[in-house]
Symmetry: C2
Subunit: 268 residues, 2 copies
């Protein structure tokens, strides 16, 4: 089992920022990624639908013999993590808790901001997890739904992106947060611009990096790390719908060649 791959999934291309971070931190591990591009995005779908999709993908990953599953999608984590853990014996890690832990570690003033999709913010998953750990926190949460499209358009430094971010970040500036959780796997690509805009006094919590750290920690705890720490693992990408746009984005999100992307049929 130590030498089995790690399975990672998201509704689309976003989770490849998590794949990149895991590969950077744990290069010896083989990674299998599923992007459910045929049914992207999950953000505006109902919890029951999202749970069904997450179960189908986990079943596929389990058949590929993975040793651990990473839900690299905030919406699927919020709605599906408990159901997946109930159904499967494999360790299943979600993207919310690592972000929460990192925010708790980063904040000095106790004033924490969260940005994410409508679904993630409405679910209150980050807010509740933060307040459960530290009830005295002052939390500012806001949905920032245009950011996913802007990232996919590659408008990472565009004047319009800056204008939109000015508006989206205004409540966080007003609340004087010292920590901002980027609660969506697309947002690491905007970390540069957000960092320039908020300045070094605001810590940015990047879901992808913290997810990778949580995976490393879990492999260590369960003694599931690859037995050969010198090797360089493979990255196999599956998508439920293939398009040239996905291939282009995959390259950009992964920060390297994506290799051959295979189609996976997820039956409803």
């Amino acid at each position: 089992m130590k030498n089995a791959p790690i399975g990672i999934f998201d509704s689309g291309v976003g989770g490849l920022t998590v794949v990149r971070a895991i590969h950077d931190l744990l290069p010896q591990e083989d990674l299998i990624y599923v992007g459910d591009t045929a049914r992207f995005p999950y953000g505006n779908k109902s919890p029951a639908t999202i749970i069904r999709y997450a179960q189908q993908i986990t079943e596929f990953l389990q058949k590929q013999g993975v040793k651990l599953v990473v839900v690299a999608c905030n919406t699927a984590t919020v709605h599906g993590l408990a159901a997946l853990r109930e159904q499967w014996a494999l360790p299943v890690l979600g993207v919310v808790q690592p972000g929460v832990d990192a925010a708790l570690e980063a904040t000095r003033s106790g004033r924490v901001g969260i940005i994410g999709t409508v679904g993630t913010i409405q679910s209150k998953a980050y807010q509740q997890a933060l307040l459960q750990a530290r009830p005295e926190l002052h939390i500012t949460a806001s949905a920032t739904p245009l950011l996913v499209s802007l990232v996919e358009e590659d408008w990472l430094q565009h004047a319009a992106t800056q204008l939109i971010l000015e508006e989206y970040l205004a409540p966080h500036r007003a609340a004087q947060v010292d920590t901002l959780v980027l609660g969506c796997t697309h947002y690491p690509l905007l970390k540069g611009l957000i960092g320039q805009m908020l300045g070094p006094e605001v810590a940015l919590v990047d879901s992808a990096e913290n997810m990778a750290r949580a995976v490393a920690e879990r492999l260590r705890q369960d003694d599931l790390g690859h037995s050969n720490s010198k090797r360089v693992g493979t990255i196999q990408i599956y998508a439920s719908d293939l398009s040239t746009q996905f291939a282009n984005l995959a390259h950009r999100f992964l920060g390297r060649e994506a290799g051959t992307i295979e189609k996976v049929v997820l039956t409803d």
Copy 2:
């Protein structure tokens, strides 16, 4: 058959601009709408997948006894219209041809612009249909993928929307088009702002309005109009995934109360 409803579908909420236009022009007709919200958006999916989805929805509409099907989705029209017409005996109308006809009628200079999703523009459906009718036309086509999100966010007059449109409209200004085809069912909501920006000398071709005129014409030709022209027809909306966001958008796109939205299960 004359008193049967008209079926209309789209990948999401956008086609409700077409429902609104048909209801305004033909208030006596009963309308059944299907928004395939569980699988929205179609724009970045492969042709084979889109054809499969369009067939499933048309089958559902056919079971509801509709007399005519309107494909109120540019992507589904581009990839699915031929397949639907082959499979079903019902008249099936797509959203591309009415827009093309209206553009041909509107242009004086023969310089025509088209904006739409990546899928619609890459398919070249509008470009080819225009050039087939008039090979001497000078056509400028550009993908404007951020507009759907901006419309769904209700940022119809926002400074960021204006900045993004300035960039998107620049090639059309440079080409001195006198007619711009709004090749996406979301864009009628931006007609006001685009009209302000381009001025009255550029004619805007609105997919929804022209689609409604094409439906009226076809009903007349086939003698399929409702026998009681004094009645006010019903609008029944189905969605493959229900969410509060869809209900809110439906209200806005339809321009009136959306009534009870029913769930439809579309099996893959």
